[in-house]
Amino acid sequence: MTTDLREATLGTNASLRRHDDVRELLPGVANPTPLVRLNHVPDRPLDLYLKLEWLNPFGSVKDRAAAYLLDGLRRRGRLDGRELVEASSGNTAIALAALANLEGTRLTVTIPDGVPEEKKVLLRMLGAEVWETPDDLCPVDHPKDGAIALARSLAASEGGTRYALANQYENPDNVRAHYETTGPEIWSQTEGRIRWFFAGFGTCGTLTGVGRYLKERDPAVRIVAIEPQPGHRLPGLKSFAEAKEPGILDRSVIDEVLRVDDEPAYAMTERLWSEESLMAGPSTGAIVHAALQVDIPAGDVVVGISPDSGRNYVSYFAERLGDRGLPQI
């Protein structure tokens, strides 16, 4: 059990960026994550901004969902005497593990195939128990969702008394996080001028929550979803040709779905690093690549989500680079 020494401190002063509790760094309209314009990658004049979600305190867009999921579980009494369990490709689990530590509870995470070693180590550093789960875990009924099935079975086993399932794929608190924070932040940061919004299929909390908020403010805003190909290697994104659609996905707020191959997504990620000095992860590359394929009128304000940092995928990048950047003798 950790000791709480907050009473002995100077106290929080947001204008000095001094905080008594790391949770005060969670985003919202008063503390939005930055929008940064891309000035080099587009091949034509384009007001394309990335929302840098990796500047959240636990490193990704999933900080928002995790905070709302945990808050909802606590309010409904589901956390009383229980540990947390969740299926996650890493980012939600990292944020949940960090927040759970501060609540004095513990996280077990079922993590699917293809998640880089970096994320598993981060989770274990945060005290989480990591169950690596093959996608085809269920040999009979085998959609590519073994981690989700395993998390559900853990939550249902032992009479449901040991674990509370955060359930980011079905829990409306995930959508609410983005409806109440990400959407209003983008609307405010673009001064209501956003015309296009791009985000990836994953849990679909971002797409549904932001899409719903923006459509309510201006039905003409185009909401574009990015979907990887089956068998992809873009962690955090999901192909619904191989995975079940999350219950929280509301397709009525999505105008268009664009499919992206791994190669151009990784190529664009490299360009974001080397030309824009934005050290984003591969899902950001997929989103930017897709946005640049669309015929967007000059002057339209475009926002894409940059879900996480490339630092989570160093081992993937090392494979891709081979001996590039090393002295050739």
């Binding site: 099935a149 086993s157 032992e158």
Partner: protein, 86 residues
Amino acid sequence: MTQPAPTDLKVADTLDCSGLLCPLPVYKTALALGTLSPGDVLELICTDPGSLEDIPAMARQRGDTLVGLEDRKGTQIFWIEKGRST
């Protein structure tokens, strides 16, 4: 659904998955088999009826051999011999 186990069967380890719902027994069985040597037999106890389909399918998929199965009023007992290549 019963497949009598050989009478001279030597069990190397037993895993009790009573009360656990699929795919948890599948996951734990794969972990348990991972600690055994080829030819060793794992005795597995399950109570989820889904195991009757999942466990034999898993054994086939992994290259292990289901050498016996008894379904005793809601409790299923499997004997799985670890394959050479798993």
